[in-house]
Structures are given as C-alpha cells and as structure tokens.
C-alpha cells in the first residue's frame, strides 16, 4: 500500500498526535512509514503541517505537490493553503470552525472560513465537519484531532481500519483520556457515514 496523508491546522490544535496515531497504526499493520512535522518558529498560532507517507515508494520526507491521497484539515483556510498537495481525485476532510489570526482581528478583514469552504467544495471531494458540534458531548474541541481520524477511517481513503487506530489510541493516549478519545473517534467514524 502507498498512501500520502497530509494533516494541517494551526499550532496547538493537536495535529501532531493525529499524525503519530496514523503512523503507529500503519507501522503495526506492517507498512513502512515516514513522516515530517513543522517544528520551531511555528509555535502556537502559526500554520502547521504533518506529512505522513505510508509505503516503501516514498523518498522525500514531505509529500510532493499533487499527490496526497487525503488531507485532514483542522481549519478551513489551512485546508485551502494545503490544497496544492492534494491529488486530483483526492479527498479532504475539514473542520468548518475557523481560527482567526491576531492580525485579522487587528485589520478586521472579516475572515470567517465560509469562503474557504465554498472554494473547497468547488475543487475537490470534501467532507466538512463542525468540530464544535461533534465535540460538544466531550466538553472540548481538543478531541477533534481524534474525531477527524474516525472520519478519515470512515471515508475509506486512509487504508487503515478502525481497530488499528483504536489500538493506538489505547496505547498512546494518557489513561484518563482514553475513553473520551475513543468516543470522539467513534463519533467521527459515525459522521463520515451519514454525510457520505
């Protein structure tokens, strides 16, 4: 199997855990895995990406443009920013809730994510999830990083099973958060079915 998965969002949204869970699940299924993270100057509030490359055909640590099978976007504008990486028949799963940069609040350009979502719908197959809504039962949007994994598995484009991911959640998430993370994962899995 060869799969290129790009995860993007804003620093602090938990993209790194999502990429670690995918990489670990793929490895335990016997696949070769490489990944790369944004580290350093891009701290809280900056654009961040994780590139996960499954399969032995990958050389570059970063996914070449136009070849990601799936983009998991934690924020609408970040989804559009990383659209150049998506392949023509690729899928994007995106959180509809925007994160406004401080500079936007200063200049008040009125960025609210809606224009981005419209653009995505026009350009590619996309599944739009309201992170606040889906995470409401869990008390914090922070669980979205696991919910989006559920949706990705549900979409069938990740090439990994729900069991494989659940196993990694159990192995890698601190004990007291395992239960909620599993529920968030299942909620994501469920919503990928009903929206199709």
């Amino acid at each position: 199997m060869n799969k290129d998965i790009l995860i993007c969002g804003v620093g602090g949204q938990g993209t790194v855990l999502a990429s670690k869970l995918i990489a670990a699940a793929a490895m335990n299924c016997g696949h070769a895995v490489h990944s790369a993270e944004t580290i350093g100057m891009a701290q809280r509030g900056g654009s961040v990406t994780s590139h996960v490359r499954i399969g032995s055909n990958a050389y570059s640590p970063l996914i070449p443009k136009g070849s990601a099978d799936i983009v998991l976007a934690f924020e609408p504008a970040e989804a559009v920013r990383n659209l150049p990486y998506l392949k023509k028949d690729g899928t994007i799963i995106v959180n509809s809730v925007p994160v406004k940069p401080t500079t936007e609040s200063l200049n008040d350009t009125g960025y609210d994510g809606a224009e981005m979502l419209e653009y995505l719908k026009k350009k590619c197959g996309c599944l739009i999830i309201d992170a606040e809504k889906i995470c409401e039962p869990f008390g914090s949007s922070r669980y979205f990083n696991v919910a989006i994994l559920g949706a990705a598995v549900g979409s069938g484009k990740l090439g990994l099973t729900a069991e494989a991911l659940m196993q990694e959640i159990e192995a890698r998430v601190p004990a007291k958060f395992i239960d909620t993370n599993k529920k968030a994962f299942l909620a994501g899995l469920e919503c990928s079915k009903c929206i199709k």
């Binding site: 895995v33 970063l62 659209l83 949007s141």
Partner: protein, 601 residues
C-alpha cells in the same frame, strides 16, 4: 534488537549511543535540539550529558574528553558553529584521540535561523571531514561511521544534517541496550596537546597530506553511491537526494551519484561516476559545494563535461529544495515528462496570514509593553530597542513593534552601546532572554561598564529556554544529568560586575514595571531590569479573563497588545478561552475596566 519510530535527531542520538558515546554536550538550537533531549530519555548510564552554556563551551568540554580517549558528541545548529569556531579551528590542528563528532544542523530556507550558511564549507575551512546524511535511517548508521573515521584519522569530524532530515520521522532498528566505549584516559604529552606555532606548522603539513588520503578512503565508503549509466548524470547530497530519488525512481537508468562525504571530496569515486558522462546536473542546498568541487575535478582532469547547477542558474541559489523543485529541474535536464499537476488552483482566494506571534499570556508581551508605555511618556527622549535571539524576537511584530535590531546571540547588549555612542542623548535598551544572557550576554555587560556606555539592560527572565523547546539552563537549577543544582543568579552576576542599578519586577504588574523603566531610563550608566515571570508553557494558567457588558468595543486591547486570545467575533471583542491564560495584561489596558478575572462582573 527493537524498532523505534524516531525523528532524525532521535536517530542521530541513538546512533551515537550505539557507537558507545561517553560525553555529550551542546547548546539548543533549531533544528538540532532534540538530539540531546533524546539521549536524556534513553538509558545512558555511564555517559556525561550536558546542555553547556554555549557552543564554544560545549566544544571545549568535548575536546578534552576526546583527548582522554572518550567518544564525544557535540550538538548545535549551524550558527552555533560560528560561536564554537574558535575552538574548532584550533582543535582541527591538534586533533583528538577518542572519536569526536560535531553535529552542526544546517537550515535551508532558512526556516528558523539567521543564515543559510553551509557547514560543508566550514568543514573545508577547518580542513576536517564532514558527513551529510540523506535520511534519519542513514543518519543512524552514518554517525556510527563518523566516530570510526574520527578515531582512525585522529581528527574531529563534522556531521551536518539539515532541517528536513532532523525533523523527519522513520522507524529504526536499535539495540536493546547501549554500552559506553571503554577508554584509556588522558596521557600527558605537551608536544601533542599544547598548541604552539611550531606544532601548528607541523600539523598543518600533516593535515594537508592526510586529507587527500581521507578522500581516497571516502571513495570506497559505501554511503557514497553511484547508480545508473546514462550520459547525463545527476550529483546530489543530503535531503536533496531524497527529492531527486522521488523523481528518478521511475528512471533508474539515469546515472546518479550521491555524495555522503563532501569533504575531503571522494575524487576517485567521482571520476568513476563521470566516466562516459557528457553533462552533469548538481542538485544541492545552500552553497554550490559539490558543483564547485566537480568543476575543480573536471578542470584538473580536462574532461569535456558541462556542469549545471546553482552557478548556471538551474538550481535556486537560496532557500530549500523540494521534491517538486527537483522534479522540475530534472525533467527539463533529462527531457523527461514533468510530474503530473494537481488540482488547478489559479483562482485560490486570499488566505489569512499566520505570522508567528508571542503566545497568549506570554510575559514578554507585558515586558515590551511596559517599556513602550514608559518611553511614550518621555516623548523628548529618543529610544533604541535592540532585540536578541529567542521567542522575544517576536516583540518586533505589530502592534508591539518593539525590536529595532536583531543580529545574533547576545548582540543586542553590545549593539545598544553602539547606538549610545552615535546618539548619546538617547535611551538605549537591550532585550535579552535568560538563557541567551548566560550563553553570550555577560561579556557585553562588562563591555558597557568598562567603556562607560549608558544603556538599559532588560533581561526577560522566563526561567527556561523557550524557543527551542524548554531546555534547562544555569538559572533554572536543573541540569541534563537530572540533578538539582544551585541556581546561578543573574542579579548577583550583575552585582558582581558592578551594575549599580538593578531592579527585579513582575512584568504583569504593569504599573510598577512602567515606573521602573521610567526611573532607569532617566539615570546614566548601565541599568538592569530583570522582568521575571515564567513562560506560560511551563506554568499553570492563573484563570481566564472575561469581558463584561461595559465593553465599548474600542478595541484598544487588540490594538495595543495584540494578544492572540483577543479576537473579534461578529465585530465584538471576545476572549478565546482556549488560549487565554488569565495574565490580565488586557485588563490593565482597557480604558473602561471591562475586562477582569473569573469573578469579574
């Protein structure tokens, strides 16, 4: 054996452990910091591990340990090598007994550095070998080879990964446990270990004779690889090899030469790679190092071969390469199809920018704001704000706009003095972090006292090395051996130097902070203000701020301090509860007292 999924820096660390490293020292700097952090997380009984105060100290600690026969590892980013250039230049002449590997991580882009310097050039300047890994997997093996070559030729060697290798993850098979190398101990021999002009003269001749021999040895090193057999050849190194392979995996017949050891250049291997070749393309990052070396070999051997690369404008001169840029250059060089495009995005909407900013609740914001307010109240005084290297460089961002200069570690303190001498009536501020103060700030303060400069030293003391991932430093009372140690006091250092006016304030106590700055700005001589408040990433938030109905939507809070937790929702100022740490700076800015803590109505 067991498998571990690790970052490139982790692979370097584990490779060094596998080589039996005895002493590890370094100074944090992106993209190199995780090497020492990884070693601290694995069992490392019997080895000494330290964050040194700076790269020069790290190099010297490791050098004498290597004189004693210990295997030593020194880690830093590429600009750190400039700090350590004094010891490394001399050490190259003296040599070592135990293997000594100096990791200097380059940062093409640059992604988080001041320069795009190339450690391969530095290696040639020092006349010592350099290793250039293409991936985390290779780095794990190659650093072990680097120790062997270092010991074989009794010379320190450089090892230079780049950001994309340092921060890439791969799975690596490692031993269950590591055994430190057994070493003899220091044998006194002043003819060998004391550098005098006569020794330098003799060793210089020895080095120049030795290096071509190392080049021949490297020609047989199995990580320098030639594949394919076409008349058009591609030469590459480092992570660019991965980008080239990403395209050439479909064209295995193309002659490809990967240079793992750029200096001393493996000339015999390169001549073999050039057999039957008419044109060469060099794809590398930073300096055209391999390209220049090839031109030299081709010229010396009078070969009829054309060379394309950075010098001919075929490869970009600055910034990093990518799989995409490599594919483009390769397809035009080889006359092969270009890679298929993705989705047409020519009509992409304008995207919001997300420049890096100080975190919500960062005490540096309050420190900068206090100085800004104080100087605004003294409009007849011109002021200069000299910044430094660390999170607080971000004090330059709007709306704070409080960093006029930033050059290199510790420079703000001495540059403030230069401004004083060109504009004696002004108030010259230097902002320096606690870790940077220890690394390279102290000599600058002594310089100001000795030469009678007027300046205000602002130490932004957040009790950590925040930018690079919260490493401990001499002021934190913890070291990398896991020991609790005496905290080195910045105040007492300054007192000892003879700074007469030293104030310690909490920047979040805005009124007091502003008054302290005003008071210091009015005095002559060297004044120091320690703005002391912990980094929000290592301290518990004190609560959340709330905005009451009294808010008149003047947005002064957003305009004045630019905290990322202050946002507008439907045009109304709102506090992002996920980000707010309750520092309360905004409440002190609000003209109508509409912002307050948890119990605020």
């Amino acid at each position: 054996m067991k498998k571990e999924y690790v970052m490139g820096n982790g692979a370097i660390a584990l490779g060094a452990l596998a080589a039996g490293v005895n002493v590890v020292s370094g100074y944090p700097g992106t993209p190199s910091s995780e090497i020492i952090e990884t070693i601290s997380k694995y069992p490392h009984d019997g080895l000494h591990l330290e964050w040194s105060v700076n790269e020069k100290a790290a190099m010297e600690v490791a050098a004498s340990a290597a004189y004693a026969g210990a295997r030593t590892l020194v880690t830093m980013k590429q600009v750190g090598l400039n700090v350590a250039s004094d010891p490394i230049m001399s050490l190259a002449y003296v040599g070592v007994k135990g293997g000594m590997v100096i990791v200097s991580a380059d940062d093409p882009g640059p992604i988080s550095s001041q320069t795009e310097q190339d450690t391969r050039m530095f290696a040639e300047f020092c006349r010592i070998p350099v290793f250039d890994p293409t991936s985390p997997e290779e780095a794990y093996q190659m650093i072990q080879d680097a120790f062997s070559y270092s010991e074989k030729y009794k010379t320190p060697v450089l090892f230079r990964p780049t950001t994309r290798v340092c921060h890439a993850y791969a799975s690596i098979e490692i031993a269950e446990s590591f055994v430190p190398h057994a070493f003899e101990g220091f044998i006194k021999d002043s003819g060998r270990w004391v550098i005098f002009p006569r020794l330098s003269f003799a060793n210089h001749a020895m080095i120049e004779k030795r290096n071509p021999e190392i080049g021949s040895d490297f020609s047989n090193y199995d990580r320098n690889v030639i594949t394919g057999s076409s008349k058009k050849a591609v030469f590459t190194s480092g992570v660019s090899y991965a980008y080239v392979k990403e395209y050439l995996k479909n064209y295995e017949e193309v002659r490809l030469c990967k240079i793992a050891t750029p200096y001393p250049f493996p000339e015999q291997l390169v001549l073999k790679a050039l057999e039957g070749v008419e044109e060469v393309l060099c794809i590398e990052e930073l300096s055209p190092y391999i390209e220049n070396a090839l031109l030299k070999v081709i010229g010396a051997n009078q070969l009829p071969i054309k060379v394309y690369g950075k010098l001919t404008g075929h490869v970009c001169l600055s910034g990093e390469n990518s799989a995409d840029s490599a594919a483009k250059i390769l397809s035009s060089f080889l006359g092969t199809p270009s890679r298929e495009d993705g989705i047409d995005l020519s009509d992409m909407p304008a995207l919001p920018m997300r420049p890096p900013v100080l975190c919500a609740g960062c005490p540096h914001r309050a420190s900068f704001y206090a100085v800004k307010k104080a100087m605004q109240s003294m409009p007849d005084k011109k002021s200069y704000f000299c910044g430094d290297i660390g999170c607080y460089t971000l004090g330059n961002a709007m709306p704070l706009d409080m960093v006029d200069t930033c050059l290199c570690m510790g420079a703000g303190i001495t540059m403030a003095q230069g401004f004083h001498w060109t504009d004696p009536g002004s108030v010259c501020f230097a902002f320096v972090g606690d870790s940077t103060f220890f690394a390279s700030g102290m000599t600058g303060v002594v310089n100001a006292i000795y030469n009678e400069a007027d300046m205000v030293l602002c130490v932004l003391d957040n009790s950590t090395t925040a930018m690079t991932g919260h490493q401990p430093h001499p002021g934190t009372g913890k070291n990398m051996m896991g020991n609790i140690v005496d905290k080195v006091s910045i105040v007492r250092i300054l007192e000892g130097m003879g700074v007469k006016k030293i104030e310690v304030v909490d920047p979040l106590d805005l009124e007091k902070a502003v008054n302290t700055v005003k008071e210091c700005a009015a005095l002559s001589g060297v004044k120091a203000i320690i703005f002391k408040s912990p980094c929000i990433a290592i301290s518990k938030p004190s609560g959340k701020m709330k905005i009451s109905e009294k808010c008149i939507q003047c947005k002064k809070c957003i305009r004045e301090i630019g905290c990322p937790a202050l946002i507008t929702v439907d045009g109304k100022v709102t506090i992002d509860e996920g980000l707010c740490t309750g520092c309360g700076l905004c409440s002190k800015v609000c003209p109508v007292s509409a912002i307050g803590g948890d119990c605020h109505e």
